[in-house]
């Protein structure tokens, strides 16, 4: 792996205790992201995509546990940092955009106050300078009348506008890495298009690396250069965008693509993946996808396959493929 890496995560596992037992939300996840790169994480609910990002930012709830061989961000090991030092990174070098624009702002403070809070904390600006900076940010994300909106409470803004303000907050300290956790899922299609366009524009302008989380393959295809597919807490496939969508390897990735009609691609049939998403408390043994897989073999039921490099930059976790790229079975 190159020296240009911004974030390098090796064997990250996260779990949290619930009343019904231990939920192992993320298991042995390794990935990296370079400066200015965009990585997409796709998967269904409970696959561990959000928890992965929260773990990197160390924002897991109290009952959560994070373990990893290493989690290096620009050479610093995030796991060994004190909470104090982590706070200096959060919002400053690493920022996050959340799914629910309606609930992610504190209702009792103005938009401006909440933006300036981060700006003043990390950049040490005075009140006036921070206010100007926050108005600038609002302007940059295309909010009309930013001076006025700056003094409004979140309640007065529409969902789309709030998500713009959330993006303004995330980029306000020019972070090197942004985690965008389903930022458009709660929005309508036409508003989603606005936000996606805005994020593409901003990424070019400020050259930030973005980890984009979504359950929507189309959104991921549009926003990411590299895509990581997760299932039941594990990475099942990582590939460049082109490879992943034109030549998917893992049966789950293939299944996902086939189970959703696409506006651009004509297909007369919809082939669903049978079964249900596994309960995180009872993941199946062996390959977690085996109960739903059409190519299931005996080994799949007992042994978990390794994540192997199928081609340059294309890794897959499946017994159908071996190190050399040959295909087993049918």
């Amino acid at each position: 792996m190159g020296v240009n890496e911004l974030l390098q995560v090796t064997n990250l596992s996260s779990s949290f205790q619930t009343e019904d037992g231990l939920v192992r939300a993320v298991r042995d996840v390794s990935f990296h992201i370079s400066h200015g790169e965009s990585l997409g994480i796709v998967g269904e609910s409970g696959c561990g995509k959000s928890v992965t990002c929260l773990s990197v930012m160390r924002l897991m709830e109290q009952n959560g546990r994070i373990e990893a061989d290493s989690m290096r961000f620009e050479g610093r090991d995030l796991l060994s940092l004190r909470e104090r030092q982590m706070q200096k990174i959060r919002g400053n070098e690493m920022a996050m955009i959340f799914q629910e624009p309606m609930t992610s702002f504190n209702p009792v403070f103005t938009i401006g106050f909440q933006l300036q809070e981060a700006i003043r904390l990390h950049q040490g600006l005075n009140k006036k300078a921070a206010r100007n900076a926050s108005i600038d940010m609002l302007k940059q994300v295309g909010i009309p009348r930013p001076e006025k909106i700056n003094d409004e409470y979140p309640h007065a803004l529409s969902g789309g506008m709030r998500q713009r303000a959330m993006i303004a907050m995330a980029i306000s300290c020019r972070p090197k890495l942004i985690f965008a956790d389903e930022p458009t899922t709660a929005l309508d299609v036409t508003i989603q298009a606005q936000i996606l366009e805005l994020m593409q524009k901003l990424q070019q302008e400020i050259h930030t690396a973005v980890v984009f989380i979504s359950h929507d393959l189309g959104v991921i295809a549009e926003m990411s250069e590299r895509v990581m597919v997760m299932y039941a807490g594990r990475i099942v496939e990582i590939a460049g965008r082109r490879n992943l969508f034109k030549d998917p390897k893992h049966p789950y990735t293939i299944g996902l693509i086939r189970s959703k009609p696409d506006m651009e691609i004509e297909s007369p049939v919809l082939t669903p993946i049978p079964g249900t998403v596994p309960n995180p408390l009872h993941t199946p043994p062996g390959c977690p996808y085996h109960p739903r897989c059409e190519h299931v073999m005996d080994i799949c039921r007992s042994t978990l396959p390794e994540l192997i490099s199928h081609e340059q930059m294309h890794q897959v976790r499946c017994w159908l493929y071996d190190q050399q790229g040959a295909v087993h079975g049918s």
């Binding site: 619930t18 009343e19 019904d20 709830e61 009952n63 669903p272 049978p274 079964g275 249900t276 596994p278 309960n279 009872h282 109960p291 739903r292």
Partner: protein
């Protein structure tokens, strides 16, 4: 035609059928403090029920030779100023105090649930009228009015039950209304209409059972409160009247500093009994809240 056998793969794993009630009971049982409280209150209730059989003396038997006796083997809790056995009277006092609590909270439950569900289900002017009445009762200076009521109706067990019941239904009413308003938004209630069910079935079978959980919690808290109010009224001489004993009126003589100073056995046991029973009921209520509130699952 191919059927999707899909869902079978994800069928529930356990053999046992987990009804919501089983789950709640299971969660409640895990709460040690609540379980201990359940045992304590059960014992207290049993003692009260079987008081006449357990008590060593007749309830109102006066024995002037043995007045103001401190606790001894013969008189476990000592005797009062009339020479009545305090152990006996405390046993019987529990009978009275706990039944006042139960009856009073049943009265308020009936009023609260009926008015609350009417307001919540029908909304509009029904709701407006009921909520205004609730506001009025809610702004009564509770104990002051209870005292006034007790003085006017004349202090007695029944009047105490009625007064407490009539004054404390507002919380239940608001709660039930709130529950009904939020349950009404649920799609399963809309479904009852799209399936052609009538309103009585909808309320009785689909809304009330789902509103029961918080009502139950609040019922325990209100019952605890009713026991406290009865005790306070009786202590002030405005509740249950001697010679019928209640935990509250047993320690009424302790209003005199002289008695307070000399006869600790007169006021300490009934005071502790009230405290322990109210505490147990409250802790059970708290345990129920934890068992019923799915958000606390975390």
């Amino acid at each position: 035609m191919k059927f999707i056998k899909a869902a079978d793969a994800g069928a529930p794993k356990t053999e046992e059928i987990l009804s919501p009630r089983t789950i709640i009971w299971r969660r409640f049982r895990r709460n040690k403090i609540a379980m201990i409280s359940l045992y304590v209150i059960t014992v207290l209730i049993l003692l009260a029920v079987f008081a006449p059989m357990i008590a060593p003396y007749e309830r109102d038997d006066i024995n002037l030779q043995y007045r103001e006796q401190p606790p001894s083997a013969e008189y476990l809790f000592g005797t009062d100023r009339n020479g009545r056995d305090l152990f006996t009277r405390n046993l019987h006092g529990g009978r009275i105090s706990l039944s006042v609590g139960i009856v009073a909270s049943s009265i308020q439950m009936v009023i609260g649930v009926v008015l609350g569900s009417l307001a919540g289900y029908f909304g509009k002017w029904v709701d407006a009228v009921i909520m205004r009445i609730t506001d009025m009762v809610l702004s009564f200076p509770f104990l002051a009015l209870a005292i006034t009521g007790a003085a006017i109706l004349g202090p007695s067990i029944y009047n105490t039950m009625i007064i407490i019941g009539l004054l404390s239904w507002t919380e239940t009413c608001r709660l039930v209304r709130g529950q009904f308003l939020s349950i009404k938004q649920m799609e399963y209630i809309e479904a009852t209409r799209s399936l052609g069910f009538n309103e009585i079935r909808t309320i009785w079978r689909h809304m009330l059972p789902n509103a029961m959980a918080p009502i139950l919690i609040s019922a325990t808290l209100i019952m605890a409160n009713a026991v406290l109010i009865e005790a306070a009224l009786s202590y002030l001489g405005l509740g249950v009247q001697p010679p019928i004993p209640s935990w509250g009126n047993i320690l009424e003589p302790a209003r005199s500093m002289d008695v307070l100073m000399r006869m600790w056995w007169l006021w300490l046991p009934p005071g502790l009994l009230i405290f322990i029973s109210v505490l147990s009921i409250n802790l059970i209520g708290d345990g129920l809240r934890d068992a019923l509130d799915p958000r606390l699952k975390n």
